[in-house]
Symmetry: C2
Subunit: 499 residues, 2 copies
């Protein structure tokens, strides 16, 4: 049958493009973990060439003809049809960019990334600004080329989470922001919890060993992935059988490594659980960055920052670090890892103030893309926003607008998925608890099998042929609501801070 | 000027193809060092796709037109013209293979490699044989497609060392073989040297630290490369600024790690010294595998197995392993690391019997490609040859015909470059000594700067626009002679064994 052949042709093309993209992913992973210093420049051009090739293969006119032929066919299964539809939307977007543009963008991203590294080293945003300005200019061109509704920033919000717009995100933030502010004020009126025991010296090797034990216990399949060290923890996959996470280790702060491990493991479990048959096809990819983030937050916060988690793991940590943790009780530990305090660094923020960090970036990115501010005005905007939202003074660029890698990667519109992910995570955790009444007891005993299975049944199988909203409807029966999230933080912090 | 534009076009195409090939190299390196178990199958298809792309880009008909236009131009510099000429020869060879064939070959190689791993695990050649037979069949097709003079095996000898044939190699072996046999017989009539102190327990971590110290001392630039552990040591480059070596560590044999480090560093120093301007072009690539091997042997044998090397490094080793090496003198150490004894494993063989291992493989490969033997007859042929050439009985396939990875990579015709490399190395070492009379004293004091500079001036700048023979003529004034090699082994072993 003609249409079976065509679908196979489509699948084969997509899988070869995936091969090239996954090869790029290996090169990126290597760049962040093992690349020797002088190798950076050539790595940049290797990555540019691979993106150019993948782009050329994907946007080849024969692909368009093939997709249209498939869309008019009646012989596809529902999943096949959805794959083709999503690919057609991708084609529509990407074919508006020339290969030359994609190459220039990749090269600019590579230069920006290195400028960002240098700027951090010198602690001066001005070192990063010229390359960032060029990158933002290209991203504006990209938005114009691919098209958007109402605002150029929407072009990127939609890319990371199909259907997201400034409007949908702002509306969610408007629902949570007053409640979080009010809760924060109440917390600040109470005595602060003590987390000083987390800031002792914890030797690197012992932290590393504990981290490995932890991620395996959570269900990370080490035969289908690995963990390494990098400056900025991330998860990357080369297919569901090779999912790699990285962590960082701060010898003077135990919590840094532990919750970064859990967070990245959440991402990795999702990738390792995506449908196997879908290699290279939308059905085999993560639904969206938002759903990806819901998985990391689910594990990091709802499981990892729970009292039950502490019950299980504090004794193990005490075995590793007997002197440092000798006198710490489960209750003290639980309160310490949930300390709420406005701070400068997003990745170290608590679950509550975290969202103000995201709101600031959301506002800033929006302002950049409607030309309300210029690249060089970022530090000023940033510092004012931190004072306004969090009441903190930013002492320097490294602890301010240079703290995150995302812009140097050209990833504008990415940050909001962190908050969206948290809101989804809370909704899914609530759904899971009503399906599995014994879940909390299982966490206390360190048995995550049932929880992972629940995720593997309800969330992981839904690839990129479902939007975040569709995933949410399937799992909770509703569009995304923030009430689960608000209920979760209210109950948690009212108890911790005795409000 | 039209021809400048064309040359730039040529250069740009070649550099993009190099980007793809170096990306493949990263994937291969990762496969041998860090790839999780379940990732192997997808890695195989990613590598196939990249080879297919590189092949398609290189053999595009427009490349042929471009090369012919350039060859008829009068505006090229000598180096440019040589680059184009070599590329034209490559084009001529590779365009005879279809992309489909290249993909099939890469996939078969991947399957063969995994079959070889499994066969070694089970210690049974029969597990490897079916995949190997398919691969040999494809290599025969390749030989027919690309063409050869006199014998299909010549198609591969020429690939690894332009101009090498069965005839040229057999003629060199005929010159060295009787002398080596005679020397071996005399050695065997003398009391054996004692190397038992090398077979004590040497902890892994300490060996690893020593290895790193050693390769840096030899001149390996760790900002332009790195060392990792793999089961089979190798050197791979992603460009001269990112050259990676691997080593293996046997806790019960110190010499394994030390001389494998030196050997791979010899390869790496060559790659790090290749001309910078030539990225992606023949002028920037190694002359041949033979010259590559001459560099590893130069360092491993002529420097690393010299008495002067022991003078410098035995004290350092004693600091690392005080108990194991306390009573060992420089003379004892020097004799131990040069112990001559017919043995089963090529990579552990001494400098003298080593060449019999190569001759056996040379005879066997020749027999495979003129259908004198079948794939399944390899163990029988192998075991008989080991008895005949080396007087040893092969107890099992792992210590027999399964010991080397090369065939599983489809690398037939590769082994002879090891012996050729040794003969070149001896010739170059003699030339170096007459230019640098103080070289031996420098080795005693651990100062390799002058020697490395000599190599950087005389050998490393000669890229693949010079054949091995041309390199040899430039450095020694003559075609390759075996007299330097024979003089070196005779003098060395007559002294060690008191002949």
């Amino acid at each position: 049958m003609a249409s079976t052949t065509s679908y196979n042709d489509y699948k084969e093309r997509m899988q070869k493009i995936a091969d090239v993209n996954f090869a790029s992913a290996v090169l990126q992973w290597d760049q962040e973990t093992y690349l020797p210093e002088k190798g950076a420049a050539f790595r940049g051009r290797q990555l540019s060439t691979l993106s150019e090739i993948a782009h050329q293969q994907f946007t080849d006119p024969s692909m368009k003809a093939l997709l249209e032929q498939l869309l008019s066919s009646n012989h596809l299964s529902e999943e096949e049809r959805k794959n083709v539809l999503v690919t057609h939307t991708d084609y529509d977007r990407r074919s508006k960019l020339t290969s030359g543009f994609v190459r220039e963008l990749t090269e600019t991203i590579n230069r920006s990334f290195h400028a960002w590294i240098n700027a951090r080293r010198e602690n001066r945003f001005a070192v990063f600004a010229p390359e960032l300005a060029k990158l933002i200019e290209l991203k504006k061109q990209e938005a114009e080329a691919v098209g958007y509704q109402h605002h150029p920033y929407n072009a990127f919000l939609d890319e990371f989470d199909k259907g997201s717009t400034i409007h949908t995100i702002a509306s969610l933030f408007e629902q949570v922001s007053p409640a979080l502010k009010e809760l924060l004020t109440r917390i600040q009126s109470r005595p602060q919890v003590d987390d000083s025991f987390l800031k002792q010296h914890f030797p690197k090797d012992l932290q590393w060993k504990f981290g490995l034990q932890l991620i395996e216990a959570l269900g990370f399949d080490t035969k289908a992935g690995r963990q390494d060290v990098s400056e900025h923890p991330f998860t990357i996959n080369f297919n569901r059988n090779d999912v790699r996470v990285t962590t960082r280790i701060d010898e003077n702060d135990l919590s840094n490594m532990v919750w970064s491990c859990i967070h990245e493991t959440g991402h990795a479990l999702y990738e390792q659980g995506l449908p196997e048959t879908g290699y290279g096809l939308p059905a085999g990819e993560a639904s969206s960055l938002t759903i990806h983030e819901s998985q990391s937050r689910f594990w990091e916060n709802h499981i990892g920052r729970s009292r039950e988690f502490c019950t299980k793991w504090l004794p193990v940590l005490k075995d590793c670090f007997p002197e440092q943790l000798r006198d710490v009780s489960v209750g003290q530990f639980y309160r310490a890892i949930n300390k709420v305090e406005p701070s400068l660094i997003r990745t170290e923020a608590d679950e509550l103030t975290y969202h103000f960090h995201v709101m600031i970036r959301f506002e800033l990115e929006k302002a950049l893309f409607d030309n309300a501010i210029l690249t060089e005005e970022i530090p000023e905007f940033w510092n004012a926003a931190y004072r306004n939202y969090l009441g903190v003074d930013v002492p320097d660029d490294k602890r301010g607008c240079l703290q995150d890698v995302h812009w140097s990667h050209g990833s504008f519109g990415y940050f909001p998925t962190y908050s969206l992910g948290s809101f989804h995570a809370a909704a899914y955790f609530a759904a899971m608890k009503s399906d599995l009444p014994d879940a909390e007891a299982a966490v206390s005993s360190g048995n995550y099998q049932g929880i992972l299975e629940w995720l593997r049944n309800h969330i992981h199988p839904l690839g990129r042929i479902y939007t975040s909203t569709e995933v949410c409807r399937k799992v909770t029966g509703n569009d995304l609501q923030v009430n689960s999230f608000l209920k979760y933080v209210m109950e948690k912090y009212e108890e911790i801070y005795n409000l």
